[in-house]
Symmetry: C2
């Protein structure tokens, strides 16, 4: 069909430009010399706009219109029909916002991030609040253009988690929150776990070697990617056959870097597992932020912090840092990397407390968008919730409401993806456990290929063909439910703490 061919050609154009943008981003954060920054920003701006203009071009509109009309759509293959469906959603989302409004939002977000950096450094929320107010104002306008059924916040959620709604999230939160708070209380009553041996001096060379071993162990293909250093680690796909991971090495501790690398490796396995059929189609990426996060969190936590995986991998860690770890038994190490402790900062949180950090943000950003909370009252509201969920109050806004870049960057509606990722991860892993009876034994033997093939078949290869909800049903037979996560953390951490 001629029209399908034309659509594919246009999608390839957009994808190629996006590929060049990705390479520029990767280079900017790894190897670019400092004096190239200004030129790079201009090039990125131009190419991103070019790609965006092609996505919302009249040609794209006409092709999608033709292909989604009844007469034509019946002759489409399943893949082609998915192509039209997904790209049409992208197109409509992108077209919904008037260009001037979108432009204003991009500029404001950029300025706001700069203001946030300064405010965080100087612990000065007041200096940042006008920017956040402006971002909220613009987002409230955008929400009306996007449209929504029940809650304005739904429209923002949909940007990161297609199909997710506020009410579904609230349902999950209401089930999960009390269980977590009660579990944390129980664990806190016990003697704290000793993890003092995780601090010390750890050479970059040994850390790098260990990170590469970990990536190889989970099945990351180094012929289709690489590992480099950066400040804020990320995974990026340059194109089919080229999915790159980055990490940061700190000399005084290695856990953050090692588990950070495994986390990024989980993202990378997803992208490396996408079907080559989807190359250059815009469908060759993750189904949603939440599904993506499920893959990284599964590798980092469910696998990486499991007793089975460590019984295979901990000897390698000991060999990397013999001075510090040769006399630390596996059991102690396992407990140390699974220590539960309420903390101020989300990115340092353990598996049990992490989701509460997300709920707090979800509740606050929803209230902000709906004008149920004013920006000036945000720090107090933050601290009150910290006290309610964890029994601690951050000593400064820098360690509290100012800790994350997301709101400054206009990414409201993003945080829930992290929680959803944790929940999807356990639910997917449970299905895998049922279908692969020897899975835990395999993990203890350092064999992750059966699991990886299962993930590829059920999740990775489909790219963006299915919405998260459908993908979850196809992979696990049911809708997302927090029950699996609750059982998982209760079982795992009660055991570790000997309850």
């Amino acid at each position: 069909m001629e029209v399908v061919k034309r659509l594919k050609a246009l999608l390839k154009e957009i994808s190629v430009i996006n590929s060049s943008v990705s390479l520029m981003h990767w280079d900017q954060r790894t190897y670019m010399p400092s004096k190239g920054a200004e030129t790079r920003a201009e090039a990125l701006g131009y190419l991103s706009a070019l790609s965006f203009r092609k996505l919302i071009s009249p040609e794209m509109g006409e092709l999608l219109e033709t292909l989604s009309s009844k007469n034509d759509s019946t002759s489409l293959s399943d893949l082609e029909a998915a192509l039209v469906r997904v790209v049409k959603h992208d197109y409509e989302k992108a077209k919904a916002i008037p260009p001037e409004l979108y432009q204003k939002f991009v500029i404001t977000s950029s300025k706001s991030q700069t203001a946030w950096e300064k405010a965080k450094k100087e612990n000065d929320f007041a200096s940042f609040s006008p920017y956040l107010e402006e971002i909220l104002k613009l987002l409230r306008e955008m929400v009306e253009f996007y449209g929504y059924e029940e809650d304005p916040y739904d429209a923002l959620l949909d940007n990161y988690e297609p199909g997710m709604t506020t009410s579904k999230l609230e349902h999950i939160v209401s089930e999960l929150k009390p269980k977590l708070i009660s579990l944390i209380e129980n664990l806190s009553a016990h003697a704290p776990i000793d993890d003092s041996f995780l601090k010390g001096k750890f050479s970059k060379h040994a850390q790098k070697k260990l990170s590469m071993e970990a990536l190889k162990c989970i099945g990351y293909d180094f012929n289709a990617g690489r590992l480099d250093e950066t400040i804020h680690p990320f995974t990026i796909t340059i194109g089919t056959g080229d999915v790159r991971v980055t990490t940061e090495y700190k000399l005084s501790e290695f856990i953050a870097s090692l588990y950070g690398t495994i986390h990024e490796g989980g993202h990378a396995l997803y992208e490396q597992g996408i079907s080559p059929e989807l190359k250059w189609t815009l469908l060759d990426s993750g189904a949603s932020m939440g599904i993506h996060e499920s893959q990284s969190r599964m590798m980092e936590n469910i696998i990486g912090r499991s007793y089975e995986f460590l019984s295979f991998f901990y000897p390698k860690i000991q060999r990397a840092f013999p001075k510090t770890l040769k006399d630390v038994p596996l059991e102690s190490f396992y407990r140390a990397v699974n220590k539960v402790k309420p903390s101020y900062v989300r990115i340092e949180a353990d598996e049990v407390t992490y989701n509460l950090h997300i709920m707090l943000r979800f509740e606050l950003e929803k209230a902000l968008i709906n004008r149920e909370l004013e920006v000036k009252d945000l720090p107090d509201a933050w601290n009150a919730k910290m006290n309610e969920y964890f029994g601690i109050v951050p000593p400064s806004d820098s360690l509290g409401v100012l800790q994350d870049v997301h709101w400054a960057g206009g990414m409201i509606g993003y945080f829930p993806s992290y929680m959803l990722g944790n929940l999807y991860a356990v639910q997917f892993f449970n299905s895998a456990l049922q279908e692969i009876p020897e899975l835990k034994k395999e993990i203890a033997a350092g064999k992750l290929s059966t699991l990886r093939e299962w993930l590829k078949e059920k999740i990775h290869k489909h790219g963006r063909i299915y919405k998260p909800e459908e993908l979850c049903k196809r992979a696990t037979g049911e809708e997302l439910s927090p029950r699996y996560f609750i059982d998982y953390v209760e079982d795992k951490f009660r055991r570790i703490y000997g309850l």
Copy 2:
């Protein structure tokens, strides 16, 4: 002026796309994982074509037409007038060739390079000759489209050295060739120089450190570039403030890598010195291949292999490789890196023999284009000239007519740039010597900033504003003359050989 603005906007678009293409090329030859190759080739093909289409677009034609008409051109600034002049030349060159012919040429060159690689490996000229014949046929067609005044070969020369002609080149060759042949005969009559200590074991770490020291010494700005490893070293500009150098380290010898790095550093200084005013205009690169080569050869040979520079830099080399060099005096090292010896392979040639390798190629490719030589007779013609100029005949075509990629890649007319580079280099350096009386002393003290500023002022900052001929006149007060080069090599090498 509205039209100038529109032209500049279009040039910026083309430049930004070219910048992304450059980054992709750099990445392809340094860090790209192997499985990303296919996707990268597609992306490069698409973006290169996009840039080319914008250059030959009707919009570009109209803008240039308007701006070069008499009424409008009078109101242009000098810079704007140069912009119109240079871009018009690019536009006309690009438009001259019918797209189908150009497409055919690109495909043939690509296939031909693959055939050449195999032929070189298997020492099988016959298997490569049909490809070379096809390339010559296409180039002869293209030459007619480009147009020329005297010699068809002029049209090809102009692609690499705007304004250069066959007759000017022949004039240079006729003056230079007999002098070089006679000098080589004289030097060959003397006892050969001992350079045995240049072979050994040289760690990559020490070589890398030394290469970085050398680049710093000549004034390469590492905040506006970087040094990476590759197989076939090159310098590439990603954009203003980002000019990258690459090198290859061999463990059995370090001279090729060290001088290769300095050579690339000379190219990089040129690009780093271009005026920021020329950013995104297509004028922000070198005036020609020959002028570019003059900057690399000056740093590599006139500076890098000078007694003055080595009296400063050799102690650093000794410190890098103390085992091999601690007992080798400066004088011996200086003589070793300036050893003159007829050789089969151009890229291994010394300063005296190098230009004869070029003359040989120039004479043969000119004869091929003009049908004065048939491809089947090329190997014999090659060997006859080798015998005539050097008194040696290569033992195989792989070490003879098949050694270079240029003809296989369709780059006929390129070789003379290397010779012109050598001649320009000496002529520029002589002018600098006259205007900076303390220059040799400065070089001996490792101070290259005065020379670099002089080069920046006279050559670098102008980018492509002036044609090579005019640039040479402005920098040295006269046209290019081989006299300076002849005096330079006669003086330098008679001294070294004690004649």
